[in-house]
Symmetry: C2
Subunit: 711 residues, 2 copies
């Protein structure tokens, strides 16, 4: 009896707690926007350690930071909610200036000097726009990028070791290794509430407006802004097949197509795909020029990835020690390790897909003859099994791909990402399309294909959007509940040793009277949010969608319309999730959408083959040439396919990727650089010659020395 009471009491307590937490969460999410919008002044970037990391380990890091990267200012603290020690990092303004130069940050010149984007330069910092307001000169994302640069440049010296677990080699970057080993839980920059609120208004709610891409580029960096620019461009482009497809679908009822219906749709889609891609290249250059990232450094001048391994040698360009790794080694690994392993994995997926198809057929066949209860559910079993399989395989393959790409040891983040994404794309492509291909080309059942396409597309898109928005949101909410419960029940360990700067969190206007509340600081609130890796998954979703549109429009004309409707939502839901569900990502620059451009191009070639295949299966051309035998018919289609390949290739050269005005600006800049170097070198040589022999009389008067300074 007292036991029952006890349980009852506990249960009531638990119920109350949950109810409280629920109320509190609701309240907090209402309060979200009324929180203090000013970032804490001592924190641009937060580093949190693994649970149970001892104070001495945190000190090990902080001592090294203090000694080797004196530019970083840090505050040691302890997140009582998540039970993790943390470091809050920032920089003084002068060190930000220094860092800005090292990361080759581009800032806008003051209007009186032309107002162009230019690499920041300490020596004439006062000529950059807004320099004299030290608080606002660097945007929050710029500050964070610089602080992160400093943090990542912490390199090991001989004998450095983290607790006997991890031994560092000379010159190895310390933070990425600890992060990869899980010793450091997260490294993330803090959100800027004010900017968030503005983006929320202009971006997520501004359904009818253009996306505020400049603001996005400023807050999230050019790389993410380019994703949204691309998505906007793609969605606009989808209008054309959407309208065209809808008209086709309305005029010609499915199953009653004329002979020319398929070829016309296929050809039209091909043309659309070419021009969508080529015009994007132009748009891309327009944006990147505007954002100052079009002008690409030679890759050897770019910062190597922190995890890039190699023998330390002085850089021939800057003179600083940098790791070097011979290209032939990477090539060997790509040829003899990456390529075969990837191939085996892909073959395995194909085998699993085929096995699934066979199983499905077997289940479909048998279920009708079985007479037990639930026999009608049997056909769904293989589907579920495959779903589980593919999720597991996907996770495993992703691990393998990351591992292989790590092994390839790319020097730049860009090439690392490209190599990784290339591997993922193939896998996802097979997963997404094997069933459609099977139905189209093995079963040759176009009606079934249409049925399959509509379910797949709609399910994929609805599921995708829900997953994207609500999964991380739910994750965050659950973690918040957990955090609240836990902060309530656990003692705050080591609070006496570590300074807890709870002040930032409690300067919110509506600070509640519960004591637990004050301990959940802003950094902790963001710590529990999931990390936004990059736009890879979003691109992947669009990539698959583009595959459906470009490959299957001819049998299922409203593909384009479905995609278009989805994407109108997609833009806003992607924006919403970035603004509310995720930790703020570090700002990254980019010149374009990278490997995706190539991937879309390849798909549009594959689409030609698939379209021709579908025309073949539909037999619509056969109706036009009734005299042909089967193999003549196939040869005819193949010939047409090859001509279309050639045409696709030719068309891709018609749209000049760089607008003329832009080309001119680039040429002018290049001209200035060349002339500047000549001027400088000339002066150098003149000086050298004057010093070495004073009695030499040059044959030619050198009165035109500085004629190019004032063009």
């Amino acid at each position: 009896m007292p036991d029952v009471h006890k349980y009852k009491e506990r249960f009531t307590d638990f119920r109350h707690r949950v109810a409280y937490t629920g109320r509190e969460l609701l309240e907090r999410s209402r309060k979200w926007r009324s929180f203090s919008t000013k970032s804490p002044s001592n924190c641009d970037v937060v580093v949190t350690f693994k649970r149970g990391t001892s104070e001495s380990q945190v000190d090990w890091i902080s001592n090294r930071l203090q000694a080797r990267i004196p530019e970083l200012l840090f505050t040691k603290t302890f997140h009582s909610g998540t039970q993790r020690p943390a470091l809050y990092l920032t920089c003084s303004f002068n060190d930000l200036l220094k860092g800005a130069r090292e990361v080759r940050l581009r800032k806008r010149l003051a209007p009186e000097f032309g107002g162009e984007m230019q690499e920041f330069c300490i020596e004439d910092c006062e000529n950059f726009e807004g320099f004299f307001d030290h608080e606002t000169f660097f945007t929050s994302s710029e500050r964070q990028a610089i602080v992160r640069y400093y943090l990542m440049s912490l390199r090991a010296m001989a004998g450095d070791a983290w607790d006997d677990d991890i031994k560092f080699s000379q010159g190895q970057a310390i933070m990425p290794v600890l992060l990869a080993a899980g010793k450091i839980a997260t490294i993330f920059p803090l959100h800027d509430r004010e900017a968030l609120a503005m983006l929320h208004n202009s971006w997520v709610r501004g359904f009818t407006h253009r996306q505020p891409l400049d603001a996005v580029a400023e807050y999230f960096g050019v790389k993410i802004a380019l994703y949204f620019a691309w998505l906007g461009h793609y969605t606009t482009a989808l209008l054309i097949p959407a309208i065209f497809g809808l008209l086709c679908w309305l005029i010609v009822p499915a199953g009653k197509e004329r002979a020319l219906h398929y070829p016309v749709l296929a050809f039209f889609t091909m043309l659309w795909a070419v021009f969508f891609q080529e015009v994007w290249k132009r748009t891309n250059n327009h944006y990147t020029y505007h954002w100052g990232t079009l002008d690409k450094l030679p890759s050897l001048l770019e910062q190597p990835r922190p995890l890039f391994r190699g023998v330390l040698e002085p850089s021939p360009i800057t003179g600083r020690l940098e790791p070097f790794y011979p290209r032939w080694k990477r090539n060997l690994i790509v040829c003899f390790v990456t390529f075969p392993i990837t191939l085996v994995c892909l073959l395995f997926v194909v085998v699993v897909a085929i096995a699934h198809i066979k199983l499905q057929e077997y289940a479909d066949l048998k279920s009708s003859s079985w007479r037990f209860r639930g026999a009608t559910l049997v056909p769904f079993l293989p589907m579920i099994l495959y779903g589980v399989n593919i999720t597991v395989l996907n996770a495993i393959y992703h691990k393998i791909a990351v591992h292989l790409t790590e092994m390839e040891n790319h020097r730049l983040d860009e090439s690392y990402n490209n190599a990784l994404i290339s591997k993922l794309i193939l896998f996802q492509f097979i997963n997404a399309f094997y069933a459609s291909f099977y139905i189209a080309f093995y079963r040759m059942d176009l009606a079934l294909l249409r049925h399959h396409l509509v379910t797949t597309l709609v399910i994929r898109q609805i599921a995708g959007n829900l997953k994207e928005v609500f999964l991380p949101l739910g994750q965050t909410r659950i973690r918040q509940v957990y955090l609240s419960l836990r902060a309530d029940g656990f003692p705050t360990l080591k609070k006496d040793d570590l300074h807890t700067p709870g002040t930032e969190a409690s300067d919110g206007k509506s600070s509640p009277n519960k004591s637990t509340e004050t301990k959940i600081t802003r950094a902790e609130q963001e710590e529990i949010m999931p990390k936004y890796d990059d736009a890879t998954n979003d691109y992947l979703e669009m990539f698959i969608q583009f595959g459906f549109v470009s490959m299957f429009t001819c049998v299922f004309p409203i593909c384009g319309l479905l995609a278009f409707l989805n994407n109108i939502l997609e833009i806003r839901s992607d924006a919403f999730k970035l603004l509310t569900n995720f930790q703020r990502p570090f700002s990254e620059t980019a010149r374009g959408i990278g490997v995706w451009e190539r991937a879309f191009e390849i798909v549009s070639y594959v689409a030609i083959a698939v379209n021709i295949g579908l025309i073949g299966v539909s037999g619509s051309i056969q109706a036009l040439f009734p005299g042909l035998t089967t193999h003549q018919y196939i040869l005819l289609l193949i010939a047409v396919e090859h001509i279309l390949f050639a045409l696709r290739f030719g068309l891709s050269h018609i749209v000049p990727p760089i607008p003329f005005a832009l080309e001119r600006s680039i040429a002018i800049l290049e001209h200035k650089r060349r002339e500047a170097l000549r001027t400088l070198e000339r002066e150098c040589r003149k000086e050298a010659r004057r010093v070495s022999d004073e009695n030499d009389s040059p044959d030619y008067p050198s009165d035109q020395t500085s004629d190019i300074d004032t063009p």
Copy 2:
């Protein structure tokens, strides 16, 4: 009777003359190398006018030259042999220096300043290697290029007209228009006998040595040197299929191939083609870096073609007036004029080819039933007819292609050439291969194909070499005979008006005592030689050959060997013809082999399709899978073809096109340019700021101003 005597006399006279001329020619060709090797001092470039051009017309030009291009020094003269007025052009050393800057000539710095190739610069001319010897500082080809630049920059003013025939519009380039209209017969630079003799020894006779490519680049320019570099690379690469093909041919007798024989050979050839092309890109960059042309100017900075039309506007970069022409106009012309017309022409050729095939079949069929004398010759009639047809069509098509490309109004010589060559390639490709394709894929007779290939290849190659070497040689010899006869018989018109500088010719050591001899000056001797347009025809020959090797090696394995043997000769015969048969071409720079790279790449894709087709025709795979129906067999082959396409595409990314050391040098240069511009701009801004407000105190000490001058 007296009449007969008269005729007899005349005939004797004529016989004597011919005999004399023959002797004289023999003698002269022996004397060729003993002629004075020093170029006439008043002549770098020769301009000769149309026969019958009046003195006032020549004066019209020379007055304009004098007034508008004061840098050019010219001598008016009259070539009595060819009856053409001529201008001999040269420049003073100082004007050469000025011109060198304007054409952005690259010269080598003196060793104490690093010895790199750099754009020539008047302001510190003394720092370039060998500057103080004014006679030798510029090579003959450099002098000629500069003189030509000046000549071509003669532009019309309002109201300029050549004899009411040709009205010039404001700013139009005069010389190219007159050249195109035939008013000017030729513009050519003089050969340098000494350099020719050296090249003769080291290049044509040095059969076992490497080609003296540096000397070739110096004498003929980088563009021609790159052709020979490419030809050398290709020939070396041919060794592999030559040996492999020979082994196959020796081991497996034709007609007794096993099932895997064709696929193995086809796959091997594909691999070879990829690597040959990718390694070439690397070699190309190696050479062009060495010759100083790798570093490409933005195309807007390059000199427009003299025939480029457009509205004159001040260049935003250099400030000089330059013609502008909007890109969209060119695109419209390409899409709606060039493309349809080219297509029609190609279709016409295809129709002619098919008609020829039908005619041939008809003749073959009938000739056996006909019973008149010469009936056995009937099968050769269609062949001859086709030969005539195709020669005529070729000439017409060439005219059309030139005209269309002129209409497209390309700004740069490079893009003009690329556009023209692209058009020619397609035509030649159809001509060269229609018969092989017909035999392979329509008649499906591989034995006949082999027979056809061996005759075609051998005949093509022998005929090609003979035509290349002996046709221009014969042409020159015939013209020399004609010249001698004519110089003998004709009075030297207008000799009293025009100054004839016969002195250059007669300073040959073996000046004969006949008076006619003295009138045939060196300039006249070279005037009658044919013009070497560029390497297009040589590339075209190799392009067709590469087509044979890459497409037909699998059915005819010794293709590679035949090509290899031919090319060993080809290199030397091409060299020989350049050195002895042609007018010296103007030196031109190039970054690579241009559109040919793309063309070879496309052929290697086409080759995949052709190889798969040949495997299909051979039925060798069918033997491996006897269970397949015809259309399954076709689908299998198509699948393999598509996989090979993808593989070919993937493989082309394996070889990095720029060697690492080179990449580093390029990056260093780029870095220096950027930093130099920043330094200069910084100084400018500092100056501007100092002037505008003196009482502003900068926040940051600017003590690091010149830290990058001494890296």
